[in-house]
């Protein structure tokens, strides 16, 4: 088991390194000269050349790549933002908590409401509770999350004045962002959990349990749920990836100064160090979550656990 964990950890490092390589290369080959862009059209060629040298842009590809990888991973130095001059790493650390609060809270909502609604719909198959829940889920999967966010701002901030529309401050500033980030995920989870439950309903071992005289509620609890929740573990991992992917847009709508908005601004300003830093941050996050999902499976599913235990 320990060997498996170690292998997965190593693989995780490889993935992040690979992503770093890819993002660096994409930026390297992006058309347009960042130095030129920063100085504007009127700059003289010598000024541009000077800036390129200062930023280290005139070095060969491999040298730049090596330098970047070394600095980022060994020294945890992502360089200074080309726009503001502040160390990217510090900026990321500042902004990290806000993105994390939204991301993790949305995950919790995804998990609890998604599972509960899915179980609710699944155990009332074909009755109105099922159709109603799935109908609402369908609506929330279809509506773009940033539009829902905008509509919520119109309703709760403008018309009702209950919640603030922008920025950060106390907990009330996070309520709408978290809900908007979670909505689509809750809907997806609910649908998946429901299918999972319905599939499990028809399984033979459920009939076996009933034939032993087990009461229905215990059959659901001991036999159906654990089996139904297995595939849901993956969905949760994927759901997290979706939340991460949605962070830039949600933070943009609500003007939350988190890592997502930082990345967006960096992209518009062509601030390479900032782009690289924030992208790596997201990649690391996603990869860690995937690792956790894999490990959870290894612990929870006896079929996978057996591959690593010393029993046989």
């Amino acid at each position: 088991m320990a060997k498996y964990i170690l292998r997965r950890l190593l693989w995780m490092i490889v993935i992040v390194l690979g992503t770093a390589f890819i993002i660096f290369t994409i930026l390297y080959f992006t058309p347009g000269d960042p130095a030129q862009a920063m100085l504007g059209g009127v700059a003289r060629p010598s000024e541009v050349a000077n800036l390129r040298h200062t930023l280290g842009l005139d070095r060969p590809y491999l040298v730049q790549l090596g330098d970047f990888l070394y600095k980022s991973f060994i020294k945890l130095d992502f360089g200074n933002s080309w726009v503001f001059g502040v160390p990217v790493f510090d900026e990321l650390m500042n902004r990290l908590p806000r993105t994390l609060i939204i991301g993790l809270s949305a995950m919790v909502l995804n998990l609890t409401f998604g599972l509960l609604l899915g179980i609710f719909a699944g155990t009332h198959e074909s009755k109105w509770q099922d159709s109603a829940t799935m109908g609402i889920a369908m609506v929330f999967i279809s509506a773009p999350d940033f539009w829902v966010a905008l509509m919520m701002i119109v309703l709760f901030a403008a018309k009702l004045g209950w919640l603030p529309a922008y920025g950060i401050g106390g907990p009330q500033y996070y309520i709408m962002p978290i809900i908007c980030a979670a909505l689509a995920g809750i809907a997806v989870n609910a649908r998946q959990t429901r299918s999972s439950i319905l599939e499990v309903f028809r399984e033979d071992y459920v009939t076996t349990a009933r034939s032993k005289g087990q009461a229905e509620s215990a059959v659901v609890r001991k036999h159906m749920l654990p089996n139904a929740l297995m595939p849901v573990i993956t969905i949760i991992g994927v759901g997290f990836a979706r939340i991460v992917a949605g962070a830039p847009v949600i933070e943009s709508v609500f003007s939350i100064p988190g890592v997502g908005l930082y990345m967006l601004n960096a992209v518009s300003a062509r601030d390479y160090p900032a782009i690289r830093g924030s992208v790596l941050f997201f990649a690391l996050f996603t990869t860690v979550v995937m690792l956790i999902v894999d490990l959870v499976y290894a612990f929870v599913d006896p079929r996978i656990k057996a591959q690593f235990s010393n029993r046989r």
Binding site: W11, I15, V16, G18, T19, I22, I23, I26, L27, F29, T30, P31, M138, V139, I141, S142, A143, P144, F146, W147, V148, L150, M151, I153, V154, A157, A158, A165, A241, R242, V244, A245, G246, P248, V249, S252, M263, L264, V267, S268, I275, V279, F282, A283, T286, T287, M290
Partner: protein, 297 residues
């Protein structure tokens, strides 16, 4: 004992009608109420966009400077924006961009994903491992993030936006196809094809793929909804297609600054996206049920 010559009246085997699989699938698809609504709605939206020049009351960039920020009225059914442009017309024309972006990206992404996934699934071994590892790296940046990066790197424009959107969709497609192929790979008809000396590529494309086509179709259909939303999100944050293109997401971006004063500018474009994606998802659900062999009577 019964003698060999049976004098029973017997039951004659029923004549099996040969309908085309496509027609049969379509018929089954529109049985459920949800799927029916979705298909009709989607067809209407597509038709409306295609025939926009005939239906739209105004041109997409026609400015009516005496009527800026107008709320819905008889002359402008959905109101106007900051430059007096009719919102309904912009939505109709915008549909052409949003829908074609979504469709092209979904198809392209699915296509690439199917090829890569088939190679991985069929050849197995080191090839499969290598490809799946690459997919792991590819998906370390989930959907939208990757789109943002590639769109920023490639620049604006229709084709580049399609590319950016498609790239985000590939790893999931690959995983799905590979999983399906893993299921089918052990079945005997493939062994039989090998036994009569079919080339590996022939087996892959003529025997294996048709049997895994159903989940691909469903995934692609649902994928269109996702790509439309992502295209809108890209336009909203300023990437993707550029103004004055009336892509639905761009319309949302336009209305953003006046959200508190003129909410109709946000409401209608967003509603259009939501309804379109809803229709597509309903269609996709219906398609999935129609293709599910377990539900066939």
């Amino acid at each position: 004992m019964i003698t060999a010559e049976s004098t029973s009246t017997g039951i004659k085997p029923e004549k099996i009608e040969k309908t085309s699989l496509l027609l049969e699938t379509l018929q089954r698809m529109v049985k459920g109420p949800g799927a029916r609504v979705g298909t009709v709605l989607f067809a209407l939206i597509v038709l409306a966009s295609v025939f926009a020049p005939l239906i739209a009351p105004y041109g997409p960039n026609e400015m009516d400077l005496k009527n800026m920020y107008a709320t819905p009225s008889a002359s402008h059914l959905l109101g106007t924006d900051g430059l007096g442009r009719d919102l309904l017309s912009r939505l109709l024309y915008g549909g052409r961009y949003s829908l074609s972006l979504g469709l092209s990206a979904a198809v392209f992404g699915a296509f690439v994903g199917v090829i890569i996934g088939s190679i991985a699934g069929y050849f197995g071994g080191k090839t499969e491992t290598l490809i799946m590892r690459l997919m792991d790296i590819w998906s370390s940046l989930p959907g939208m993030l990757l789109c943002i990066l590639i769109s920023a790197a490639l620049g604006a424009g229709f084709f580049f936006t399609v590319l950016a959107l498609a790239v985000g969709a590939v790893p999931e497609a690959v995983r799905l196809i590979r999983a399906q192929i893993l299921k089918e790979r052990t079945k005997e008809y493939l062994e039989a094809a090998e036994a009569i000396n079919c080339s590996k590529f022939s087996i892959m494309f003529r025997h294996l793929l048709p049997n895994v086509v159903s989940p691909i179709l469903v995934m692609m259909t649902m994928g269109i909804g996702m790509t439309i939303t992502m295209a809108a999100a890209l336009s909203y944050i300023g990437l993707g297609v550029q103004p004055p293109t009336p892509e639905w997401g761009a319309l949302l971006a336009d209305g953003r600054s006046h959200i508190l004063t003129y909410p109709h500018l946000i409401m209608f474009p967003g509603l259009t996206i939501a309804i379109t994606v809803l229709a597509i998802n309903l269609m996709g659900d219906g398609l999935r049920d129609a293709l599910d062999p377990k539900l066939r009577s």
